[in-house]
């Protein structure tokens, strides 16, 4: 007896197939090579996964899902998702919810291949790394005009060494044309009078940082006449540019610190020290000469003419006067410096809050209280205000203390 089946509409059949696929296979992970990859203007991604057997399956990845890397034809990936049917075209497909490069990933392999190639060319040799200038007063910067990197570099240099001039070349650091633009920027900066170049960007995914793994950027760094510091991403991000560069900075901020090994503050302290040493030396030289003259004058006083003695004495006096004049000058400049330092210190002085109406509490003997020191009822204290000192007795040490104040 023939098996008589119900006649279905196309739609019913398509739905039956859809349910069969969704229930029977459901959520799977599948490995394969991407082909026919298209990122539609809608944001949805369409591609095919195939393997060596020649089998293929259509895949979609909706806009709400992000692959997390730059998908390209030929990449081997593992895609996870729901097998389903698309009735309007009568075909089945995999709706991917996640996709990842297979194994080490194509980019990683490309990175390793580039690293091997350039290493073989000797581009990473430590012997060819140029020394960085010890105190650059002009630094070239190639990074994005909008990222955090440029702000970090500028503010670090402004804080450490404001005298250091910056030549900034706004640079495209990711996406199409980024590699070429970074290479251009390094070449452009080579034609300026900067002494060292910082090339970099803030953190990102391996795809975001990819331009710094390209041969064109490596070549620009390799051919640069000025030392190049790479400053790409965070501590853990390592790029080809880092290997070729004369110095690798963990972050853009670190790069700015590397080009300002001596801060303006360090140098000012050093200069003060130099001024003191100069003064000490000239005084001791003078004292020594004076002693020598006096000795000669005294010892040979009986053998030499009185005239000679007078001459020597006159010389001594002259030196003393000249030295005194020089000393007055230096003391005058030193006192001007001191004024400036004093003004700066005033801001930090513990009494400066008094200007704003605060009072400073001291023990009766004038000693200050430690921050965690407790005060007890009956204790005599002194309250110091800007233009007034008052002695007081603590009546209570409650959370809201009441203080009896009597003017002194």
């Amino acid at each position: 007896m023939p098996n008589i089946r119900k006649t279905l509409t196309v739609g019913e059949l398509a739905n039956a197939i859809k349910m069969l696929l969704e229930d029977g296979i459901g959520y799977v992970s599948v490995t394969g090579e991407i082909s026919n990859y298209k990122l539609h203007s809608s944001g949805h991604r369409y591609f095919t996964l195939k393997d060596a057997s020649g089998a293929q399956i259509a895949c979609t990845m909706w806009r709400s899902r992000q692959p997390g890397f730059d998908m390209k034809d030929g990449m081997n990936v593992v895609a996870s998702g729901q097998v389903t049917a698309y009735p309007p075209q009568g075909r089945y497909q995999l709706d991917c919810s996640s996709i990842a490069p297979l194994g080490a990933g194509e980019l990683y392999l490309a990175f390793e291949r580039m690293k091997e190639k350039l290493s073989a060319l000797g581009w990473f040799d430590t012997a060819r790394k140029r020394p960085l200038p010890q105190m650059p007063l002009c630094v070239g910067v190639a990074t994005s005009a909008t990222g955090a990197a440029v702000r970090d570099i500028f503010s670090t240099l402004a804080r450490r060494m404001p005298a250091c001039r910056i030549i900034f070349r706004p640079t495209l650091v990711q996406g199409d044309g980024a590699a070429e633009d970074i290479a251009n920027a390094i070449n452009n900066l080579n034609k300026t009078d900067c002494e060292v170049i910082i090339a970099g960007r803030g953190g990102g995914s391996i795809e975001d940082l990819w331009a710094f793994n390209t041969e064109i950027v490596a070549k620009a760094i390799y051919s640069s006449k000025k030392p190049v510091i790479s400053a790409v991403g965070h501590e853990t991000d390592v790029t080809i540019a880092d290997f070729v560069a004369d110095c690798r900075a963990a972050t853009p901020t670190a790069a700015a610190e590397i080009v300002s090994p001596y801060t303006a503050a360090d140098l000012l302290i050093y200069l003060t020290d130099i001024q003191l040493r100069l003064r000490r030396s000239i005084i001791s030289s003078f004292e020594e000469r004076k002693r020598e003259f006096m000795q000669i004058a005294q010892h040979s006083a009986f053998r030499r003419t009185a005239e000679k003695v007078l001459q020597l004495q006159q010389q001594t006096d002259e030196l003393e006067m000249r030295s005194a004049a020089a000393m007055r000058r230096i003391l005058w400049t030193a006192s001007k410096d001191l004024d400036a330092i004093e003004r700066r210190l005033m801001v930090l002085h513990p009494l400066s809050p008094l200007q704003k109406g605060f009072a400073l509490m001291r023990h009766a003997d004038g000693l200050m209280f430690a921050a965690n020191e407790m005060v007890s009822a009956g204790e005599h204290i002194i309250l110091q205000r800007l233009n007034q000192t008052a002695s007081a007795i603590i009546t209570e040490t409650d959370k809201s203390p009441i203080i009896t104040v009597s003017n002194s």
């Binding site: 500028f154 240099l157 910056i166 620009a220 030289s285 400049t333």
Partner: protein
């Protein structure tokens, strides 16, 4: 502006000249006259370096985007 650039170029040289002067003065072997001249020079250099550092404000010069790759 020109004067500024001159100062920047010579800042490091000024510091090394300062080192030189300190060494000579420390040794104290030259005639007193020369030492006094060097002393004054040293004090003046230290002063101008100080002023340079204290008055410095960050200068940022922006380079326009040009294509240079073809020139290599």
């Amino acid at each position: 502006m020109k004067k500024n650039i001159k100062q920047e170029i010579s800042f490091e040289q000024q510091l090394s000249r300062l080192d030189e002067i300190v060494d000579i003065l420390d040794a104290g072997e030259k005639p007193m006259d020369e030492l006094l001249v060097l002393y004054e020079e040293g004090i003046n250099i230290a002063k101008s370096c100080r002023e340079y550092l204290e008055k410095a404000e960050q200068k940022i010069e922006q380079l326009s985007v040009k294509n240079d790759v073809s020139e290599d």
